[in-house]
């Protein structure tokens, strides 16, 4: 699993926002994550789960209420320019994340220059190299974002992220605005860059399939908390939280599942209306009295120390909704 000190270590991250009625709403509630060099972790959750807030907090775009974010073991309370460089963010909407008035070359040059990553004569060659790393021709440097399709723009956004030679890329729903077929190429690109450049990758998505394709480990979020985490294969084959089970059941598949059962009901409530006890109990097919009263802690699954789940019944396999 790489070096003993993780590239990224997040502990007890808590972020709240003021609502329109000026109440504090907890968007992220005590989230902890670790990521090693060259490792890819998938953070999965639906809208309102707080996954984007986690991404923005890690990238330093917002200040958490509490919690620690460490890079290679040093805390990032005040970020220097090189701290910022180390963590790069790729956004969901490639049409919004590129400055419409800047040519690609200008954007890359500025970054290389500010961080002193290439001397003036080398800058051009480096720009060309970055383009080829993401599979675009050098001629693309002369164009503005409007000249590119969604998939090409996302490649440019990735080139911009790797230009500053980061340790870690946080990708926030990088393929959900794209067609499935285009998204596939972007996922493949992330996978290749991760191994070629020894990058850490935190892939944030509502789509289990995207995570399934390229992530080593998975963490599932529901209403601001991590409810299950562990190695991908273990979590997908034998989920220990009914919400993970539900996500897996709901994912569209190419091959029909013989035993498709009833779906979980409704949608997640807004972050301000967190149910008492286990936040998932009102949608959970397995909920019992204790779930309504007590909020389960995220704890290791018996016999599988690398895994954890926040469910009172995490030590029993969840056949979830389909058994009923």
């Amino acid at each position: 699993m790489g070096s003993p000190t993780p590239v990224l270590s997040v502990r007890g991250l808590t972020v709240s926002f003021a609502s329109a009625q000026r109440e504090r709403i907890l968007a992220v509630d005590g989230v902890s994550l670790q990521l090693h060099a060259g490792e890819s972790v998938g953070l999965v959750g639906e809208s309102g789960s707080g996954k984007t807030t986690v991404a923005r907090a890690i990238a330093g775009l917002l200040t958490p209420d509490s919690g620690k974010i460490e890079l290679d073991g040093t805390s990032l309370t005040r970020r220097s320019r090189s701290d910022r460089r180390a963590i790069q963010l790729v956004f969901q909407d490639p049409f919004a994340s590129l400055n419409p008035r800047r040519r690609i070359r200008g954007v890359l040059r500025e970054l290389l220059h500010v961080h002193g990553l290439a001397s003036d004569p080398e800058i051009e060659a480096r720009c060309v190299e970055l383009m080829s790393l993401v599979g675009l021709p050098a001629a693309a440097l002369d164009r503005r974002p409007a000249a590119f399709s969604g998939g090409q723009r996302q490649r440019i956004a990735i080139a911009r992220a790797i230009a500053v030679e980061p340790r870690l890329i946080v990708a926030d729903e990088p393929v959900s605005a794209l067609d499935v077929s285009v998204g596939a190429t972007i996922l493949a690109l992330f996978d290749r860059l991760r191994s070629e450049l020894d990058l850490g990758l935190l892939l944030i998505s509502h789509n289990l399939a995207a995570v399934a394709a390229i992530c080593d480990r998975v963490a599932v979020m529901y209403l601001g908390r991590v409810v299950e985490e562990g190695p991908r294969a273990a979590v997908f084959d034998d989920p220990r939280h009914p919400y993970t089970r539900a996500l897996l059941d709901a994912a569209p598949r190419l091959r029909p599942e013989p035993s498709e059962g009833p779906r979980i009901r409704d949608e997640a409530p807004p972050a301000g209306a967190r149910p008492s006890g286990c936040a998932f109990h009102d949608r959970c097919p397995r909920a019992e009295e204790i779930c309504r009263r007590e909020s389960p802690e995220l704890r290791a699954v018996d016999g599988q120390p690398q895994r954890a789940a926040a469910c009172h019944f995490s030590n029993e396999p969840h056949t979830g909704g389909r058994a009923r």
């Binding site: 399709s149 499935v180 077929s181 190429t185 399939a209 394709a213 029909p256 949608e267």
Partner: protein, 326 residues
Amino acid sequence: MTAPALEVRELALSVGDRRRRWRVVDRVSFAVEAGRSLGIVGESGSGKSLTLRGVMALTPAAVRIDAGSVTLAGEELPLHGRRTRVARRGRLAMIFQDPLSALDPVHPAGAQVAEIARRVGGRSRRAAWVRAIELLDLVGIREARRRAHDYPHQLSGGMRQRVMIAMALASEPAVLLCDEPTTALDVTVQAQVLDLLDSLRAELRLALVFVSHDLAVVRSICEEVAVMYAGRFVETGPTAALLEHPRHPYTLGLRQAVVDVDDAGRAPRSIPGELPEPGQLPPGCPFNPRCTYADDACRHGTVELESHGEAGRAVACLHSDRVPAP
């Protein structure tokens, strides 16, 4: 056999201005029977949404319907002129990708459903409201009576899409066109909405046309599927057989680009190149520059959709027999 609920023949649409026009939907034909469903799959820009708009005669200003016929239960509908709307009233309805923008922000959800039930369904004001509550209940909105007074911005994404479906049903259509209705939704909600559409199809014997870029989504709701590329259908057939063994290299590419949770760890394979823009179509088969099987015949000859061995399948490829199973 009676006429299919919806039959579209040789529909052709073009975009452009006075000087230049480009074909964006090229002689597309399909038919759907009552209680059945057809999926149209393609990338953005392939012309799949425009096909629906063309059937609806709701094309944007720059797009023109050049040719083709749309037949509803044996009766041909006008594609131009004054009567396009009236001829479709209460027979064809459509739901959209983004339910927030497809609902009017200033009217309550129930009122929007009732408005259609009243003006299209010909009910009295009171009866229309009762019908609206019934429909909201039918599409799975709990406490429909109370929720009917909510405005769209007060509803969750899934509920908005349910309201959209209720509005479409309020006109009591025989055919429901769905334009990527679940793309903007979360997975669990997407599954709920797909289930809902599937049960409505069966219960109300709706003919369903479902447009999506995601083969896996279409697989879960459509019996038949048509794959669209650069404005043309390149392969059609029963969904299961088509996914089992695609006969068009593009279908194979789409199929392999989809990763689903069952094949975790398999990095997705992608189709090289990009969809050509209208007006920049290569001669011959439009897919030839991105195709591994392309030869001179593909680059110069004409390639038409032709039926292919197995029942109900058709493919527009000169090398369909060389395409391997995925």
